[in-house]
Symmetry: C2
Subunit: 66 residues, 2 copies
């Protein structure tokens, strides 16, 4: 497993970018400390946000979508 996430258009930090960190250990520690993610979906009337429970295994995020 690589040690850092590749910086792409959809994960590049723009706000306070001097504090950005792409090390997997740091990103995983932040994810593992959390419980709920706010996920956006597109629907007919525009984007909506749904708070969802999540868990991480390696580089995969699992969302609870019942």
């Amino acid at each position: 497993m690589q040690e850092k996430y590749e910086i792409k258009k959809n994960n590049k930090i723009k706000q306070l970018k001097t504090k950005a960190n792409y090390d997997k250990k740091v990103v995983h520690a932040i994810l593992d400390a959390g419980l709920v993610a706010h996920i956006a979906f597109n629907q007919d009337q525009g984007p909506i946000v749904v708070p969802m429970l999540y868990g991480r295994e390696k580089d995969t995020i699992f969302l609870h979508g019942a």
Copy 2:
């Protein structure tokens, strides 16, 4: 000011709908107890979520977008 919000496609509660409440007094009390809203926007790569401070005045929500 009307006492209830009109039920429309984009505000109709679907989950646990028996608990839904469209009374303005109830909706305003919930909004006034909160501080942060998770707002979805569409960008080129898809919808994103931004947590934003908010405030309410009558039927208007003000978002802090600095």
